[in-house]
Amino acid sequence: MESKERFILHVRDLHVEVRTKEGSFKLVEDINFGIKKGEILGLVGESGSGKTVTSMSILQLHDRKNIQVTGSITLHDRELNGLKNTEMRKIRGKDIAFIMQNPMNAFTPVFTIGHQFIETIQAHTSLNKKDARELAVDVMESVNLPEPEKLLKLYPFQLSGGMLQRVMIAMAACLKPSVIIADEPTTALDLHSQLLVLRLLEKIRLEHGTSILLISHDLGVISEMADHVIVMKHGKIVETANVLELFDNPQHEYTKKLLRTRPTLYSEKQPYTYTL
Amino acid sequence: MIAKLQYQLKSQKVIVISSFILLGLFMITLFAPWLAPNDPIAVNLAHKLQQPSWDYPLGTDHLGRCTFSRILYGARISLGFAMLIFISALSIGLIIGIIAGYKGGWVDQLLMRVGDGLMAIPSLLLVIGFVGIWGAGLKQVILGLILVQWVYYARVIRGMVLSLKEQNYITAAKISGSSTWTIMKKHIIPNVIPSLAVMGTLEMGWAIMNLSSMSFLGLGVQPPTPEWGAMILEGKSYIRTNPALMLYPGLMIMIVVVTFNLLGEALAERYGVKSR
């Protein structure tokens, strides 16, 4: 029996259209979902299914001139769609944090990790540099990142992808956001780093009750992490289900197809499945 | 897509217009003797430094020569020699490019290093150096300009030869018939012609600029030859009384160079070639 808890992040009737010289095109339509406190919602779909459009709309980072977003996006019952940019900036990075797919390109190459970490902290708090640095080190220690002091002095290119991703997550968790949107956080990493990253996300979820929107086309990651799953295709949600139900008893043809096309070498199931 | 078409149309318009202007200029070059009202080198001290009149449409210079006629003949010098430089540099570049590309190995390396060295030195300095060794004069300047320009053409040709070589190996493995030659002619040469055309137009504009600069310094054309740069040198002392002597030759240089540049850039956009 599910308790009637509120959705922390609630998306209702989200429609996104883009206006071009040839006319308007629908990017996504009829998107409805919600994430409760401490839940992980998996968003599955191939490229072009509308995953990125959805997350960018939540963050209100769409091109306001050419892209029109209709529908309701609420965070703690506060309407985000159409919110003034000055207000939205306070929310980005603090209440909703974003984790990018390719950590190597996400950080600005010419500034140290520490500089960018402190930058983020100072953008949302009134801490001075010294305190911000201490906070950063604390967060990094609590997520078991080795030698945080040293790490902060390095430049992005000096770290491996896995390490950078974990720093990015630490940075995201630092300001205790209500929601973390993780866009393909494991795709660019080797298996060991993937494990570390997922463990980290789980830790944050447990300790802070953060809701996570986990976008991935890796069904193995989804099966390990998500509580609920939505499947997107061509801008629409084709299936919404609890993760166990989805894998045991897929309803929609598309979902079935996705599950079927996992290549396996052996007939027994493998712990990590392959991408589509 | 329409935006791209509009973009191409714009380039197309520019190409057409500038080609017309160039055509007009070339007409002037050819028909100068008939278009000019007076003999460009006829000295007539009685009529010196006159203002524009029916006899002398742009007035006369300090030796009583008709400015308008001198400008028309100046077109012959600038455009004629620009063509000469282009053809010579292209021929040399062709030969060296083919040799370098075909032979490969140390011959290729040597030629390319020499080319790199030549390109590293600012072109005007090189031409001045040339003149420094062998004295001032039109011939020396032309030779110097050819010496600087061949490198660009050689590189393009060399690239073509290299890709041709590669194709040979592949098709040899395929055991095709004699049609390989025509295939290569169809695919490779169409790629080279736009590059050469873009390069040629830009380099011609640049050659005219340098020729006039050198003549302005007194190191190029010698009196009484009517060349625009030299005319500015002669006219600069009369800037207060007869500014036309300085204004119109310079205007002509600018018009010609602008036209070449416009054409070159438009060709580059239209055919997807990178301009310098």
Binding site: R89, N102, A106 | G132, I232, I239, G250
Partner: protein, 314 residues
Amino acid sequence: MGTYVLKRIITIVPIFLIATLVTFGMINLSPVDPAEAYFATAHIQATDEMLEQKRHEFGLDQPLLIQYVNTLIKICQFDFGISYVTNKPVWEEISSRLPATIQLTIGSLLIAIFVSVPLGFLAGIKKNSGMDHFSRFLSFIGASIPSFWLGYLFIFFFSVKLDLFPVEGTGTWKHLILPSVTLAFPLIALYTRLLRSSVLENLQESYVLFARTRGFHEKMIMRKHVLRMAISPMITGLGMNIGNLLTGAIIVEAVFSWPGFGRYFIDAIFNRDVPVIQAYVLLAAGVFLISNLIVDLVQMYIDPRISRKGRQYQ
């Protein structure tokens, strides 16, 4: 990082040596005979014995290699020989004229940087705005207009017609303005264009998006992150363009009768004054090398990847 700097400084030496070799070759290729030139300047009718003796004095009868080594030694002491035209030490002639040229070139460079950085930056950020179109127009004109004509245009409008600035010569800052702006014009054209396209490229990068997701102010992202990343190619272009600065200076000095080294160089060419020509080439090479070094050092400061690549932390 220190080793990188040291390495860069050391590579200058062999290149400079090559330059000395080239100029040495130039002098020996030149049909002018130093001994004849000496007597011609002094207006002395030289006999064959006097010529021979002079050649011996100049060391011209020694094997080329020895001559070359001697030349090198002298260069290290800033002894570039005697001018064929005035029979005075070349270095004396140069050093009296060099400050004026330095004043002109530094002035132009500063103007160019102070105009093109904001212009290129804003043009890139606000693509297709009025500012953008203006900058592209300026870039085009700047690249197509002959600088000597531009100089005279300035003179015509500002000096003759409006009488705002003096026509020629040096002395006050007023004298410096028109020549510097003329020289700066083609530079501005190039740098603005470079920076603009670099900014446009950078705006597509992921780090800009990531900065936005962290709630940074758009202006701050542009000014701090994008500008710092985008300015790199412009600085490289700056370094590569120093040559044009030198040649442009020659022309501008001629237009404005600026008593600098460029004008003197042209006179030397007319007079076939080979030692002066050699000195100029060597100086130009030296300036070129040093400015490239400076540019590299600045790049190193701006972009830490250059000196530290290869040390990964697992």
